[in-house]
């Protein structure tokens, strides 16, 4: 298992506020993190509707120790709070998901979504500006046309680099329920947005129309038994996508079969173990995240206590099951009372699909090596790690005598949860969101090899 160190002491906090890590405003809580397809950019969205994009510094021979640091590249307000007057409902500005489009020119494009609206943002650099206008002077004031005696052609002059974000498309009014996920198709022309009951297919160019491809709303809402929790396109097959449900099942659909993909072509579900049945069985089996592996052969799902890896060729049971924090099984009642049982943890593959990672409580996050079957628990905490120090593996004591460095289950801080993590597509760099702080960790071995 590679050792991760905090190579980059970058902790994101909004520049206008001076807050300690224990006290923060609700708006600063990071709600999503995502590397782009090259790993050069890292985007975060927060509850206040803002998107902050970090860019990796280019390697420089003069300062080799600063290799690969991520610095703020662009910050913009993606979504604002809205009010639906018809339903008397406030629409939160919280960014639920960000997905990057693969880079096709000098500009970067990403999709960001709140509960109701998806937006396509273009992030571009401007390092030149035109100077020498005829009708306005350098300050921008309009010149009196009668004073103009000669004409000149404006020329582009270099300027300080400016990164600007502009909303290029707004995809709205297609979702009655709350959007939980978006996914860009490998054809780079379409994407899906998913709410509790429906999946809609959009063309990136067309904003006034979307196609509904999955609809699980029953004729009588009283018969509702499950909702869609997440959906994702297959990484290579542009006609295939998967969606997970609150009942712990995953459906794989082929868009070539029919216009409406209500009928799945594969159905993944593991039968429930009757010996573990409890009041909360339905809650803990609800899938909070589904991710295809990079090679497209596997699916990973996260429910409250476990991460499961599924082989697309085997529907009746998962290939691998990893216990994230099974010691919480006995505390489900109190976790239900304080609402923690509804936390939606995400999961992520590394670039080679050999390691999977997911978050837990007490700012712990877990990594599972699928080949060696070893796992490690790490903590995202400023107190416990100095720059370039190797992260020490943590351990939760489940019973009996607690060893010196172990932490007991009752001492876990359930307000510190890591729900969102992302892994660099090619390198061993991970970004972990701990409430309002962003931690970026890098594999130490790589830095040694430089």
């Amino acid at each position: 298992m590679k050792c991760f160190s905090r190579y980059l002491p970058y902790l994101f906090r909004p520049p206008s506020t001076i807050l300690s890590s224990t006290c923060h405003t609700e708006a600063d809580i990071i709600s999503t993190v995502e590397f782009n397809s090259s790993g050069e950019l890292l985007a975060t969205g927060d509850k206040g509707g803002r998107v902050v994009v970090f860019q990796r510094e280019q390697e420089s021979k003069s300062q080799p120790q600063r290799r690969g640091e991520y610095n703020v590249y662009s910050t913009f307000q993606s979504h604002e709070p809205e009010f639906d007057y018809l339903k008397s409902l406030e629409i939160e500005e919280k960014i639920n998901k960000i997905k990057w489009l693969p880079q096709q020119n000098a500009a970067y494009f990403l999709l960001s979504t709140n509960d109701k609206t998806v937006k396509l943002w273009k992030i571009s650099e401007r390092d030149k500006r035109p100077e020498g206008y005829n009708l306005k002077d350098e300050d921008g004031r309009i010149r009196n046309p009668s004073t103009i005696t000669s004409l000149r052609v404006p020329v582009l002059q270099p300027m300080d680099l400016m990164v600007e974000a502009t909303a290029r498309r707004v995809f709205s009014n297609a979702h009655t329920y709350h959007i939980n996920s978006i996914s860009v198709n490998s054809d780079l022309q379409t994407f899906i947005s998913t709410d509790d009951l429906r999946v809609n297919l959009w063309n990136l160019e067309i904003t006034d129309r979307s196609f509904n491809i999955v609809d699980i709303k029953p004729a009588n809402m009283e018969e509702l038994t499950e909702v869609i929790t997440s959906a994702e396109f297959h990484p290579q097959h542009c006609h295939t996508f998967a969606y997970s449900s609150s009942k712990g099942s995953i459906r794989l659909c082929d868009m070539r079969q029919a216009a409406l993909c209500d009928k799945h072509c594969k159905y993944f579900e593991e039968p429930e173990d009757p010996s573990t049945r409890s009041f909360f069985s339905e809650i803990i089996s609800s899938i909070s995240d589904v991710k295809f592996s990079h090679n497209g052969r596997y699916l990973m799902t996260r429910d409250y206590l476990t991460v499961k890896v599924w082989d697309l060729q085997m529907e009746n049971k998962p290939l691998e099951t990893y216990q994230v924090h099974d010691y919480l099984r006995g505390k489900l009642c109190s976790l239900y009372e304080n609402d923690c049982i509804f936390d939606k943890f995400e999961c992520v593959w590394n670039g080679s699909d050999s390691v999977i990672m997911t978050g837990s409580y007490n700012n712990f996050f877990r990594m599972f090596d699928r080949n060696t079957k070893r796992d490690v628990t790490l903590e995202a905490s400023r107190e416990n790690s100095k720059p370039r120090a190797i992260l020490k593996p943590r351990k939760v004591c489940v019973g009996g005598k607690r060893r010196k460095d172990e932490i007991s289950v009752d001492s876990l801080d359930f307000s510190k949860k890591i729900l969102h993590t992302t892994w660099h597509p090619h390198e061993n760099i991970i970004a972990v969101a701990a409430t309002n702080n962003l931690y970026i960790f890098q594999d130490k071995e790589e830095t040694v090899n430089l």
Binding site: E90, H178, P274, S286
Partner: protein, 293 residues
Amino acid sequence: MINTMECAVDAQSLISISLMKIHNSRTQRGGIKLHKNLLVSYVLRNARQVYIKEKYAEIYRMQQYEEVMTVCNEIQQLNPLELDAEDADDEEQARAACCGEDVSLCGSACHRDAAHTRTASALPGCSHLEYDGKEPEPSFYRSCCMEASPVSECDQFSANGRAHCNKTTVLDLDTHVVTTVENGYLHQDCCCDALQCGQGAQSPAKKRKVEFACCVSDVEELSDFTAARKRVKREDCSYTHPDYTDTSNISNLISIFGSGFSGLLSRQTDLEQICSKQVLASLGAWTRAIVAF
């Protein structure tokens, strides 16, 4: 089948917590979260199943005890030297109370027949309604999506290989709600429109009330009935968990939801104390009403 040893107390507190969550979700920013409320309704359903199962077991135990008492009294009555007139009246009222339980178990036919005979004179109306056929009129049926539990549950209720569980229609003398118990499982049906459920519960009850009043012609019988009602109420309260305040909170919240979300504002000042058993019995209706928004 929930494989926990949690007793009805935990189930009750879970129900109360769940209701509060659903109630609070109304004022949450961003609107009501369908997914979360669906999950909460599952917990509610599970807790209700455990709670009702526990209640059944408790009531069945009480009924068994009274059965034994009945047999003992019969034996006693064969010996006129030990007969006491007052005791006979008390026993009769106790049996009437049994008859008037708002939730009737799938007790043995033998037990029912015994109670029937004893109380036939005291509560003619009641007996008329209680044993009135196995196919109650649809208007008094509220369809419920509660899943049928495994057969083993039924076996638990019928003790010592007694008569097989069958359908029983019961009138709750306190609230005048008709309940059908089939195979030992509470089978309260609610109509498709969730909003009508609260009203639906009331209209058949009113209907029954009228019928009942017509049947009672004798003043003496009426007073017996009153006494039986009182007994029912007292015994009912004793069956519930000692911490009755939690139960009444549950009742209050359920009465709010029973009248639909639009009724929430208007009903806030008009809360009724509904018996917790009847309230919990109607969970199916409003549970899905929550999800139906």
